[in-house]
C-alpha cells in the first residue's frame, strides 16, 4: 500500500503519522510538500496534525488553499481515501471535502488528554479491525476541535451514518461530561458520503504501543493495510 503524507508549513505530526504508517505498512509513506501540485499515485493520502500556517486566521484555512490541495480534492473525488487527523480534519472541512467547521473549544483552552471514543461502525476501510460500538481510548490535542454544522447537515450525517467516532464515557454513552470540546452530538470524526474521506480530531497515531500508554490507535492502521493492500 502506498501512502502519501502532505506536509504543510507548520505541520508537526507529519513525522508521527509517518512512523505509525511505516510500522503498519512496512513501507515509508511519501512526504509531499504543500507547494507541489500533484500527489504521487497513492492508495491513501493523509493530512497530518499540527499548526499549518500557525493556525493563523482560522485553523486549516490557509492550508486548504495550498497548491497541493487541488490535487488532493480531485483525487478524493476520484475515490482515493483521504485521512485528516486533527489539523488535517480542519483542512478537510476548509477545503470542502467534509461538511461543517471546527470551532474554538468550548472552554477556550488547548486540551491534550486521552479521551474515550465510540467506534460508530466497523464497515469502513478505517475501522474494520474494531468492533462496532467499541469504546477505545485515544488522545486529543487541539484548540479548535469543537465540531459544528447546521441542523440540516447534522441530521444528514446522523441519518446516513456518517459519524465515525463520538466522545463517550466508559459505558459508551455520549454524555455532556464526556464531551471535551463542545462538539455537536459529541462528534469526534466524520466520513464523506462515500466513506472514503475520514476526518477526526483525536490522534490514533499517538497511541500505537504500550510504551506510549496504549495501542487503541493501531487497529486503524491495520484496517487500512487490510483494505488497501
Amino acid at each position: 500500500m502506498r501512502a502519501s503524507v502532505i506536509v504543510f508549513p507548520g505541520s508537526n505530526c507529519d513525522r508521527d503519522i509517518a512512523v505509525a504508517l511505516t510500522a503498519a505498512l512496512d513501507q515509508k509513506p511519501a512526504m509531499v510538500w504543500h507547494g507541489d501540485t500533484s500527489v504521487p499515485p497513492s492508495d491513501l493520502i493523509v493530512l497530518p496534525g499540527g499548526f499549518s500556517f500557525g493556525d493563523y486566521l482560522r485553523s486549516g484555512a490557509m492550508a486548504a488553499q495550498s497548491p497541493i490541495m487541488k490535487d488532493v480534492v480531485a483525487k478524493a473525488k476520484a475515490g482515493v481515501p483521504v485521512l485528516g487527523i486533527c489539523n488535517g480534519f480542519q483542512v478537510l472541512t476548509e477545503a470542502g471535502l467534509l461538511p461543517g467547521a471546527l470551532m474554538r473549544n468550548r472552554d477556550i483552552k488547548f486540551l491534550c488528554k486521552d479521551v474515550l471514543l465510540k467506534v460508530e461502525r466497523n464497515d469502513s476501510i478505517y475501522t474494520s479491525q474494531y468492533k462496532a460500538g467499541e469504546v477505545i481510548r485515544v488522545p486529543i490535542a487541539h484548540h479548535d476541535g469543537n465540531y459544528f454544522a447546521d441542523d440540516e447537515t447534522i441530521k444528514s450525517l446522523e441519518d446516513e451514518g456518517l459519524v465515525a467516532f463520538r466522545y463517550v464515557d466508559e459505558t459508551g454513552a455520549a454524555s455532556a461530561a464526556a464531551n471535551p470540546n463542545g462538539s455537536v452530538n459529541n462528534i469526534a470524526g466524520i466520513y464523506s458520503a462515500d466513506m472514503k474521506v475520514l476526518g477526526l480530531m483525536p490522534h490514533p497515531e499517538r497511541l500505537i504501543s504500550p510504551a506510549l500508554g496504549g495501542s487503541d490507535g493501531a487497529p486503524m492502521f491495520k484496517s487500512l493495510t487490510e483494505a488497501l493492500s
Binding site: 508549513p9 507548520g10 508537526n12 505530526c13 513525522r15 508521527d16 512512523v19 505509525a20 496534525g49 499540527g50 499548526f51 500556517f53 500557525g54 493556525d55 493563523y56 483552552k109 488547548f110 486540551l111 491534550c112 488528554k113 488522545p139 490535542a141 484548540h143 490522534h203 497515531e205 499517538r206 510504551a211 506510549l212 500508554g213
Partner: protein, 746 residues
C-alpha cells in the same frame, strides 16, 4: 564629560559621531558613573549613541553576569559525560551511540509579569532557539513557574496568561511540554518567575558552535524581520521593578511560533550540509550580543551593513537595530560560496535571508548604515571588559530546628492530608499540563504527573528523563541546605523512574544583588548546589541568572531552579508512581526523623513556615538513590515515588491516586511524634511497591546496604487506611486534589 577625538583614528578605522553625553543618558543605559569611565578608557573617545547602546546591553547584568560571574566559576562543570559545559548557547551531554542531549533553562520573569501570554511565549521561543542553534532538534520542554498567593487578585490572570502562552508557543512548535513545577507564594505577588527549559537531541558530530573562525566569510541574517521590539529589553530585565514599571510596557515582544517552527526546520535542513561555520540565535540584545559573541569566540572582526538587514519598520536607527529584540532571528557565518544553496532552503521555508556583512581581520565590530560608520569597537575588549563585581554578602543566619512537639496535635490525620492534597502547594497540576501538548513527536513514554517526565530517544529504546525542582522556602531559611536540596530533588525524581541522572541546568532567580543579604542567599545556594553536584557526579552544563526580582525593596525568596536530565537504556524498565495493583507491599526506604521545620504540614497548622529546613546528607542520598535505581533496573519494583513536599502520607496518597488503588498502612509505633512521622519532610526517602512475596527479600537487600527499610503497608481497595487510625476514600482525596486549580482559575 570628556570630549575626545573622533574622525580618522590610529587604527585606521573611521569613528562615528559622538553622542551628547549626559548623566541621565548614562543612567538610562543602566551604567554607573564608574562603568562609564571604564568605557571611556577602553575606547579612548566619546561613544556614539549606537556604541553607548551596545555597551549598555553588553554590560547589563543579563548579558555580562557581572554580579554572579565570580561565584558561578566555582560550580562543577566537568565530567566524562560533558561535551560542552557553560559558555555556549546550551550545555551538551553525551548519550552514547553518537548522540547528545543539548539543554538549557532560561528565565522570562519580568516580561511575563508585564504581559503574561507573550512574555511566557517568547521565553519558550527563546530557549528553544538556544537549543536548535546548536544543531539539536528540541524534543522536550519543561517549565518552572512561581506565582503569587492564589488569593491575590492578579494571580489568576497571570497563571492563565503564562500557561496559555507556554502552550501557545510550544504546541505550535510541535515540541512536547512534558513537565515542570508550579509554586504559589505571596512573596512572588509582584515578581512572578517563568523559567523555561528545553532539551534537544543531536548527533555528537553535528553540533554547532558560535565561534566565527575565518576572515572574509559572509555574515548572514535569517528569520523574521527586525522591528523596534523590546528595545532595551535586556537592560529592563536587569532593573528592579518599581511602581512605574507599567510605563515600560511597549517593550514586550509578540511571539510568532509559526515563524520559529519554519526557522527550526530551515536551520536543521541547512545544518545537514556543511555550509555553517558558526551560528548564534539573536536573543536578548539581539544583533549586538550575537555578533560580538561570534566575533569574539572566532577571534575576528565583523563588518556589518545595517541597510541590508531585513526590516519590518521604516526609519529605524542603527541604535534601534542593534538593540532590537525581535524574535525568531538567527545570525550565521557561512562558508563562502554556500550562500545560494543556503538561501534556497530559507526561500523554501519563506524566511528572510540576507548577507549583511563579513568577518574581518581587524578585530573590530564595525556597524554601518547609509554609508556612515555608526559603531567601531574592539570586539575582544567589548566581550571581556564587562565589569565583574564581588559584591559584599552577608551569610543568612541559621534558624533553629523546630521540635515536632511544639506543633499543635492533630486529631484527624486524614483531614490534614485532605487539606494538603487539596491546597495550592500540592494540588494536581493537571489543569496546567493538559493545556500543553505533551505527546506530540510520539515519544513521550513518561507523561506529566509523575516524578520525572521521560521522552524516548527517537528510534531507540533509550529514554531521556527530566525534572525541574527547587524548594524556595528551604533556600530562604538556609540557602546552603536549600541549594543542595534543589539539586538532590531533581536527582531523586530522575532516579525514581529508573534513569541515571546525567547533568543539570539551572535558572538562578534572586532579588537585588547589591543588598548583602540577597547576595548572601546567592552565595549560599551556589555553595550548596556545587557540593551536591560534586557529591552526585551531576555537573552543571548550562544555566541562567535572573537578579533584581524585587519590587519596592521586597525580594523574592531565593529560587535557584534546577533542571536535571538522566538516561535509561531501556524505557521498558521505567517505573511510575502509580500503584495500579492490589496486594503490593509498600516499602519505605530511608530514615524518618520527623523534620517538621519548613514543612507544608507546619504551614497548615501554624499558617507559616519556620525554622531550619530538613538537612540533606549527600552521601546517604547517593547510596539510597543508587540502590533504588538498581532495584528498578532489575525489574523488581512495581511502583516508585520519592518522598518530598508534604512528607510520607502525601507521597503515599499521590501513588494511590495515580493508580487508583488504596492502601492499608501499619500504625506508627516509633519514638517520634505521630504527626511528624506522617508529614515530616526528611530527605533521602523513597517509597517502593513490590509484590508482597518479594518484600522480605528486598528489605533484606536494602538493609544490608545500611539503608533503613521497612514495609509500611499493603495495597488494597479504594481507601487509604491506617490500621486503627481511620481512613479516607480515594474519591474524596481526588475531588479535593483535582478540584483546586480548576476552581481557582475558572
Amino acid at each position: 564629560m570628556n570630549e575626545l577625538t573622533h574622525g580618522a583614528s590610529l587604527d585606521g578605522g573611521e569613528h562615528p559621531e559622538p553622542v551628547d553625553v549626559t548623566d541621565e543618558l548614562i543612567a538610562e543605559h543602566g551604567l554607573s558613573a564608574d562603568e562609564y569611565k571604564h568605557l571611556l578608557e577602553i575606547i579612548g573617545r566619546t561613544p556614539s549613541a549606537t556604541e553607548l547602546g551596545i555597551f549598555s546591553v553588553m554590560w547589563s547584568e543579563h548579558c555580562s553576569y557581572k554580579s554572579s560571574r565570580y561565584h558561578l566559576k566555582k560550580l562543577p562543570v566537568e565530567g566524562p559525560q560533558v561535551i560542552q559545559g557553560p559558555g555556549e548557547n546550551a550545555g551538551v551531554v553525551d548519550l552514547g551511540d553518537g548522540q547528545a542531549a543539548i539543554f538549557k533553562m532560561e528565565s522570562h520573569n519580568h516580561p511575563s509579569f508585564i504581559e503574561p501570554f507573550q512574555g511566557a511565549a517568547t521565553g519558550v521561543g527563546g530557549i528553544m532557539r538556544d537549543v536548535f542553534t546548536m544543531g539539536a532538534r528540541p524534543i522536550a520542554n519543561l517549565n518552572a513557574l512561581r506565582f503569587g498567593a492564589p488569593e491575590n487578585a492578579k494571580t489568576r490572570h497571570l497563571v492563565n496568561g503564562v500557561v496559555a502562552g507556554i502552550a501557545g508557543y510550544g504546541n505550535c512548535m510541535g515540541v512536547p511540554t512534558v513537565g515542570g513545577e508550579t509554586n504559589f507564594d505571596k512573596r512572588y505577588n509582584q515578581n512572578i518567575l517563568v523559567n523555561a527549559m528545553c532539551i534537544g537531541l543531536a548527533d555528537t558530530d553535528k553540533i554547532f558552535y558560535s565561534a566565527a573562525k575565518g576572515v572574509g566569510l559572509p555574515v548572514v541574517y535569517v528569520g523574521s524581520k527586525t522591528g523596534r521590539d523590546g528595545i532595551h529589553g535586556a537592560t529592563m530585565a536587569s532593573a528592579e521593578f518599581d511602581d512605574q514599571s507599567d510605563e515600560k510596557r511597549p517593550t514586550v515582544q509578540v511571539g510568532d511560533p509559526f515563524t520559529e517552527k519554519l526557522l527550526l526546520e530551515a536551520c536543521l535542513e541547512l545544518m545537514s550540509s556543511d555550509a555553517i561555520i558558526a551560528i548564534q540565535d539573536m536573543g536578548a540584545a539581539g544583533l549586538t550580543s550575537s555578533s560580538v559573541e561570534m566575533a569574539d569566540k572566532g577571534g575576528v572582526g565583523f563588518d556589518m551593513n545595517l541597510d541590508l538587514v531585513p526590516q519590518r519598520e521604516t526609519g529605524m536607527t542603527a541604535y534601534e537595530m542593534m538593540l532590537s529584540e525581535s524574535q525568531e532571528r538567527m545570525l550565521m557565518v557561512l562558508k563562502p560560496g554556500s550562500e545560494p544553496a543556503a538561501k534556497k532552503i530559507f526561500d523554501k521555508w519563506d524566511l528572510d535571508f540576507a548577507v549583511i556583512g563579513e568577518t574581518t581581520d581587524t578585530g573590530r565590530l564595525v556597524v554601518r548604515q547609509n554609508g556612515i560608520v555608526e559603531a567601531n569597537l574592539p570586539v575582544a575588549t567589548l566581550a571581556d571588559s564587562a565589569p565583574e563585581y564581588q559584591r559584599p554578602f552577608e551569610k543568612t543566619a541559621a534558624q533553629p530546628v523546630v521540635a515536632a512537639e511544639d506543633l499543635p496535635d492533630v486529631e484527624d490525620l486524614f483531614s490534614a492530608l485532605n487539606s494538603l492534597m487539596g491546597g495550592a502547594h500540592l494540588c494536581s497540576r493537571r489543569w496546567i499540563w493538559e493545556q500543553y501538548d505533551h505527546m506530540v513527536m510520539g515519544d513521550t513514554v513518561g507523561r506529566p504527573g509523575g516524578d520525572a517526565a521521560v521522552v524516548r530517544v527517537h528510534g531507540t529504546k533509550k529514554g531521556l528523563a527530566a525534572a525541574t525542582d527547587v524548594t524556595p522556602r528551604y533556600c530562604y531559611s538556609d540557602p546552603y541546605e536549600g541549594g543542595k536540596q534543589a539539586v538532590v530533588e531533581t536527582w531523586r525524581n530522575i532516579t525514581a523512574v529508573g534513569a541515571t541522572p546525567l547533568a543539570i541546568t539551572n535558572c538562578l532567580n534572586f532579588g537585588n544583588p547589591t543588598r548583602p543579604d540577597i547576595m548572601g542567599q546567592f552565595v549560599g545556594c551556589l555553595e550548596g548546589m556545587g557540593d551536591a553536584c560534586r557529591a552526585l557526579d551531576y555537573p552543571i552544563v548550562s544555566g541562567n541568572v535572573s537578579l533584581y526580582n524585587e519590587t519596592n525593596g521586597i525580594g523574592i525568596p531565593p529560587t535557584p531552579a534546577i533542571g536535571g536530565i538522566g538516561l535509561i537504556d531501556d524505557h521498558d524498565k521505567l517505573t511510575s508512581v502509580a500503584l495500579t495493583d492490589e496486594g503490593l507491599a509498600l516499602i519505605l526506604v530511608g530514615e524518618t526523623k520527623g523534620h517538621v521545620g519548613q514543612s507544608l504540614f507546619q504551614e497548615l497548622l501554624t499558617g507559616d513556615f519556620n525554622g531550619a529546613p530538613p538537612p540533606v546528607d549527600l552521601a546517604l542520598e547517593r547510596r539510597t538513590g543508587d540502590a533504588v535505581r538498581e532495584l528498578i533496573l532489575s525489574g523488581k519494583l512495581s511502583a516508585v515515588h520519592d518522598v518530598s513536599d508534604g512528607g510520607l502520607l502525601v507521597a503515599i496518597a499521590e501513588m494511590c491516586l495515580a493508580g487508583d488503588v488504596g492502601v492499608i498502612l501499619e500504625p506508627y509505633q516509633g519514638q517520634i511524634k505521630r504527626e511528624a512521622y506522617w508529614f515530616g519532610e526528611d530527605q533521602a526517602r523513597y517509597l517502593l511497591a513490590v509484590p508482597a512475596g518479594e518484600a522480605t527479600g528486598i528489605i533484606a537487600e536494602l538493609s544490608k546496604l545500611g539503608l533503613e527499610t521497612s514495609q509500611i503497608g499493603l495495597s488494597s481497595g479504594k481507601e487509604i487506611t491506617i490500621k486503627g487510625g481511620g481512613s479516607i476514600a480515594l474519591q474524596t482525596l481526588r475531588t479535593a486534589h483535582e478540584g483546586y486549580l480548576p476552581n481557582l482559575l475558572a
